[in-house]
Symmetry: C2
């Protein structure tokens, strides 16, 4: 096996998979996708991950369930009772600091699980789709280049140099990811991003808004359906 | 809450707890001990962790179960079919590289879970008992100062500066830990170390041997019972 990829079924991780196959030359059957259930309300995303894995012809998706107690806090809209904001991330972030959609230190748990799995199945890399818009203003501190750099070291040293962390969209904004992904014919029509867990997508949560704007910035229309009953933002 | 402590119920983490209370001045009731079940054969250690927590009067022990699939490999004597060696770590390590008792990237998973819990309960530090003898010759790459330094950064940055990693025995050999722990009246009689999961302890696995030697080096007798039917090593 060559790589484990953290695959949520969303736009970023699916683009990472495109890059792994189309640009880094990995054979799909040498890629092990991994989805993590950590108590997210929008776990419908795991169905999209299954479809994406099947589309690319990777190894069958593996799903791991982490104890949701570790992540359940009413300060988070993803795992607790905090209301889901209906704004862009820019409107949301009055200053630096975690977004209401930050899940406590989630990504370190995801990367640790992926690295353990990589060692067990003999894969030499872990792909992870954190990007610059996640990191902007510290919305997600566990997506920043500083966090990624520290984890890359921890993974390389702690695995006795058997596994490296690969983060090809680390320095891209969402619009750059869409541009790159479209050039690589990424099947965005089967991905899921909505934090409300809605299909059709709600079009209002910060991730829907960000996604819609990323397509619009490229002069494109997002191929997934949105709930036109609601006040669809950004298109 | 002030701290989450990773408490296996063994000698190292119990000494860490002594240091937190006796030297760092933490109130026991402000400490949340956390034990992790990751598929270790010697999960009897979790009973010892319960006793230790109760002895110190910390918050009741929390136990988290991680998916054992992530760590099960026949290259490990702790989670797979590899035979438990009956040697000292020094005899075991012909050169640099992981010990047969290394569990794939386990400690990053433990630290990640502890940090998420710290954020959820509002604790500002995570205590972790990795030490110099674990790190020696890269027996446990995820116990080295290089790994610990990387994780300390990942934790501090990824938690948006809410949590710090505290590793007070990082530079001590096992004999130094026993010396320190005895001075702090650490209740070693209720701890468990044996990797075979035996009570009385087997006295043969590398951790039993290391523990026995650490007491002997201090001119002391280990207060826990050993299986005298076997060939008890080191006393």
């Amino acid at each position: 096996m060559e790589a484990v990829i953290l695959l949520s079924g969303g736009l970023d991780s699916t683009t990472c998979l495109s890059i792994a196959v189309e640009e880094h030359g990995l054979q799909p059957e040498m890629i092990q996708p991994l989805s993590i259930h950590y108590g997210q309300k929008h776990n419908v995303e795991l169905m999209a991950a299954e479809e994406v894995a099947s589309y690319f012809g990777t190894q069958p998706l593996r799903t791991v369930v982490l104890p949701s107690d570790l992540f359940r806090t009413n300060e988070s809209s993803l795992t607790g009772s905090r209301e889901m904001p209906h704004e862009t991330y820019q409107e949301l972030m009055s200053g630096d600091g975690p977004s209401p959609t930050y899940v406590p230190f989630r990504n370190s748990n995801l990367l640790s699980a992926a690295t353990s799995l990589a060692l067990v199945i003999g894969a030499s890399s872990v792909y992870f789709g954190a990007h610059a818009e996640d990191a902007h203003n510290w919305a997600y501190p566990d997506c920043t280049p500083e966090f990624i750099g520290a984890m890359a070291n921890a993974i390389y040293v702690g695995s006795y140099h058997q596994v490296r962390l690969v983060t090809p969209v680390e320095w891209m904004m969402k619009r750059d990811i869409v541009k790159k992904g479209m050039a690589l014919k990424t099947p965005y029509e089967i991905t899921h991003s909505c934090y409300e867990g809605k299909r059709p997508a709600c079009g209002k949560c910060p991730t829907c808004v960000e996604r819609l704007e990323a397509f619009r910035a490229n002069g494109l229309e997002d191929p997934i359906p949105y709930d036109v009953e609601g006040e669809v933002v950004g298109i």
